[in-house]
Structures are given as C-alpha cells and as structure tokens.
C-alpha cells in the first residue's frame, strides 16, 4: 500500500453529486449525517467542492445534460478518488434504462469503484458498502 492510499483511508471527505435522480438517494445520503447514523464520528464530512473530496458519491441515471458536468466534476477531484455509484439508477439505469434522456449508467462515463444498489439503498447499506471497500484497500 503506497502513501496515497494509506492517507486516503483516514477520514474520508465526501462530495455528493446528483446526476438526474429522484432525490431519494440524495436524501438518504444526508440522512447518514444525522443523529441516528452519524457517520461524522468516523471523520466523514460532506464538503462543498470536488477539489476537497476523497470520495465522489454519484446518484441518478446521469442524463444527457449532466454527462459533461459529471466528467468535469470528476476531472476536478484530487486523485486517487473513490467513485461510488449509489442506487439502482447509477448502477444500471434501473427503470429509466430505455428513456430518451438516459446518458449513463455512471460506469460508462467515469470509472466506478463501488456499487451500492437499492432503490434507495438504506443508510446502513451505504455505510456497509464503504466499509467493504476500505477493507479491500488493506
């Protein structure tokens, strides 16, 4: 494990990006920060700029208007950056797969490291997904 990955593992800073979702995954991400789940005790914070982020949480189908924006946000992040596809839409397109506005799924646009399926995934599932990923880094 090199220095970069070692540093990445400590207190992940998270940037949240919605690429055309129904809002529910985004709300559940916010829910992770509130008293019941409180992921801030592990040093995870939502940050306001992709340049500060270690983790990119991406939700939604990534519609055609968002494709360029998503690429741009990914370009701005400091590497190494973990990309997490949250929800069925980001993982596979879900029920919007055949829609005319479908630009994704996410892994056709930017490289994805972790997939967390569910509609929406529960906060517990999100935490479990990140924990599994961290164990894999070891």
């Amino acid at each position: 494990m090199n220095l970069k990955t070692k540093a990445l593992k400590k207190s992940l800073w998270v940037y949240h990006m919605s690429g055309g979702s129904c809002n529910n995954c985004d709300i559940e991400i916010l829910d992770c920060l509130t008293p019941k789940f409180d992921i801030e005790r592990f040093g995870m914070v939502l940050v306001g700029s992709p340049r500060h982020a270690d983790v990119l949480l991406c939700t939604g189908i990534v519609n055609k208007k968002c494709v360029e924006r998503v690429k741009e946000v990914y370009k701005q992040t400091a590497k190494p950056c973990v990309v997490v596809a949250i929800g069925s839409c980001a993982c596979s397109g879900g029920m919007f797969r055949d829609g005319y506005q479908m630009g994704g799924p996410l892994d056709t646009i930017i490289p994805v490291d972790v997939y967390i399926p569910g509609c929406p995934p529960k906060p517990e599932a999100m935490i479990a997904g990140i924990v599994k990923f961290l164990e894999k880094l070891k």
Binding site: S18, C25, I27, T34, P35, V47, R69, M95, F96, Q101
Partner: protein
C-alpha cells in the same frame, strides 16, 4: 432595451448546478446591484428523465412504480394522483379499508416531508441544531413506513383500485406509540422554532408573497395557504378517507417565510390527527383492500392529490389497450417555483437561499425538456414546431382511425 441587455450590466451570481446548498442539480443566476437582487433566472433540465414518455411504454400496473420514482420525498403523491385518475376513468370506488390506508400513507408522508423541510430551512439559516433535531424526529416516521411497507422510502403501497398491502392489526399499537411520542417532539420543535427571537427577526417580512402574487402565479399548497389563500384539494375535492375524518386547513396571512414555516409545522399536527382517526377506523376489523379490475376502457381521466407541496395533478388517456397513450403530470413545484420572480427581487443575496428554500421546491418533479442544436446554437423544438408536430400526429391518427 430588452431584458437581456439590461441584465448584462449587472453582476451575475451563479448558484449551481452543483452547489452545496442544493440537493439536486439546478442552476440559478441572480442578477445583482450591490447586495440587492434585481432579477432571477432559472435553468432546469439536469434532472429530466422523460417519465411521461416512459409511462406510455409501461402497462397500467407498472406505471404506479414509475411515477413513484418521479420524486423521492413526495413519492406517494404521484401514485396517489395517478390511481385517482385511472379510477376516475374507470368510474369505480375504492373499498373503504383501502381508502383509510391510502390516507394514512399520504399523511405519514406529509409528516416526514414537512419535518425534512424544517430541518433543511434550519440548515440554510445556519441553525444546524434545528437540522439535526428535525431529522432525528423524522426517523421514527420512516421506521413506521418500514413496518408497513418494508421500505423507508418508495413504499409501493398504491395500486389501481386499492392498495397493495394491508396494515396488520398487530402493527397498529406500534404505530400509535411512535405517533404519540412524535406529537410531543414536534410540539417541542414548534415551540423552539416559533419562539426563537433570532429566527423571527431573520424570517419575518422576508420573501413576502401577497394574495395577488399567489393568484397571478397560480401557486398552490402551503405557499398559497401561508399567504391567506384557502385552498386544499383534500377538502375542496374530497377523495380517499379525507371526508370521513375531522381536520382543518391551516392558513396564515402574512405570506413571508416565517408564515410558511408556521403553516408546515401546524399541518404536522393535523396529519397526526388524521392518521389517528384512520387507525381507529381500521383497527380490529377486516375488509377488502382492492377492487377487481379486468380492463381499462378507452377514455380519459384526471386525478388530484394534495401533496406536501401542493396540488399534484395527473391526466391519463386510454385507447383501450393495456397502456396509457398519454400521461400528463403537473407537480406542485411547477407553479410554485416561478414565484421566485416576485419573492426574491429586491431582497439581499443573503436572504435568497432561504426564500428559494421557503417554497420547498422539488426540482425532480418539475423537469421539462427543450432540445438545442449545439452547432447552430438554436432551439430546435420551439413551441411552434411542437404545435406543428402535434397537428401532424393528430392527422396521422385520424387517418388510421
């Protein structure tokens, strides 16, 4: 001088599309003179998924799941309005037990949506304590949803002609217990928010919408009720179990952000009242929860539901096949968002965030599409073109028939 030329002279403050303030990708351009906002421009489309078109390729039963995914926060209001519209077309009545269950789900959703709004409003004002409080009290409501439907959001409870699952009698005491605790907690939260001198100074007289504004923009829901316009679909066009229970419509007079908060917080108590009465009505009894539907005849139907943000409207047209030929959706935020034009102008930049949030806008409900030619920089499908297309299609269908 036209509007655009005027705007080029002013300072433009862009908000979005990816901004820490906004949950959803959305773009606002604020035109400012010093601290004062003189114009607002809104750009949508980052959330557009083409749901109306997709709906035409799914059969009647599948559409309920599709429209549920229009919006995550008010995810029951769209199936509610859709089922109302198909039932309007079929001309059937829903079994009584199903009507009560529908109202329970609808009101639980209003509870969690309003608590979510109070939290976010607190967050925008820099009162993170309110944010954490409100979201903590919202969790038990989601737990009730998990007991009833198995999922925290996207409950999939609705079905044309009834509901998909019953509320088990042994679950009702659990729900009552949570509701009882919740009532006390919301009372405490309401007191803390409404009696706080800082919040009152910050919110009173900010983003005022008069009755005239509401009528001109056609705004609905808590936004209209906060300005003294007494409209509520649940009372004006009764459906489900709303005519069978006792409750009242909350209105206030001032139309500022403070009053919008008051309306939403007081509506929570009305919701708890409705849920308790509905639980009384179904407790210990058994009954049908779905009617029998063989096929959907040709025709058209409309359905409405008072979503947490206002009136949600669905229109469907059937040609006798197993899928709708047209499905038109109008979510409440579509008429509420343009009120920014009236409420933001003349305010300071610092106040705009809370005014934008005060409407409780839901962008994923509101998305519309416009197609541009990137090389020629022009709008391809303008209104005229669409009208021509529409006429062509009518002509085509007429020939076929």
């Amino acid at each position: 001088m036209n509007n655009k030329q005027q705007n080029t002279k002013k300072v433009v403050v862009p908000i979005g599309p990816y901004h820490p303030l906004l949950e959803e990708p959305e773009f606002f351009a604020l035109y400012c003179e010093g601290e004062k906002v003189v114009d607002v421009e809104w750009q949508a489309g980052y959330n557009h998924r083409g749901i109306e078109k997709l709906s035409e390729s799914k059969h009647w039963d599948q559409v309920t799941f599709l429209v549920e995914r229009i919006c995550g926060i008010c995810s029951t209001s769209h199936p509610f309005a859709y089922c109302n519209s198909v039932e309007d077309l079929l001309g059937i009545t829903v079994p009584e037990r199903a009507r009560y269950i529908r109202s329970i789900i609808g009101e639980l959703e209003r509870l969690h949506s309003h608590l979510l709004w109070v939290g976010l409003a607190g967050h925008f004002l820099g009162y993170n304590t309110v944010f954490m409080w409100a979201w903590k009290y919202r969790e038990p409501v989601l737990d009730i949803f998990e007991i009833i439907s198995g999922n925290r959001n996207h409950y999939a409870m609705f079905k044309v002609g009834g509901v998909r699952r019953d509320i088990e009698n042994e679950d009702i005491p659990k729900i009552r217990k949570v509701l009882g605790e919740l009532k006390g907690q919301i009372e405490m939260l309401t007191g803390a928010v409404l009696d706080d001198p800082v919040l009152a100074a910050r919110l009173k007289g900010v983003g005022v919408l008069t009755k005239e504004h509401i009528k001109n923009f056609g705004a609905v829901g808590p936004v209209a009720r906060a300005s003294g316009v007494d409209i509520d679909v649940r009372r004006d066009d009764p459906y489900a179990a709303y005519p069978l229970v006792e409750w009242k419509v909350i209105t206030t007079e001032n139309g500022d952000v403070f009053d919008k908060a008051v309306v939403r917080l007081l509506e929570c108590f009305e919701s708890i009242k409705i849920i308790s009465q509905c639980l009384d009505a179904i407790e210990g009894k058994k009954g049908e929860i779905q009617g029998e539907i063989r096929e959907v005849p040709p025709g058209e139907g409309i359905g409405r539901h008072e979503a947490p943000r206002g009136e949600c409207f669905h229109y469907i047209r059937s040609d006798g096949t197993n899928r709708p030929v047209r499905h038109k959706i109008r979510a409440p935020s579509y008429v509420n968002i343009p009120t920014f034009k009236a409420s933001c102008i003349g305010q300071t930049i610092a106040d705009v965030a809370i005014i934008l949030a005060g409407v409780d806008p839901c962008y994923c409900c509101t998305e519309r599409v416009a197609i541009y030619d990137a090389e020629k920089k022009k709008k391809l499908y303008d209104f005229k073109y669409l009208v021509e297309k529409s006429k062509e299609k009518t002509e085509k269908i007429r020939k076929e028939i």
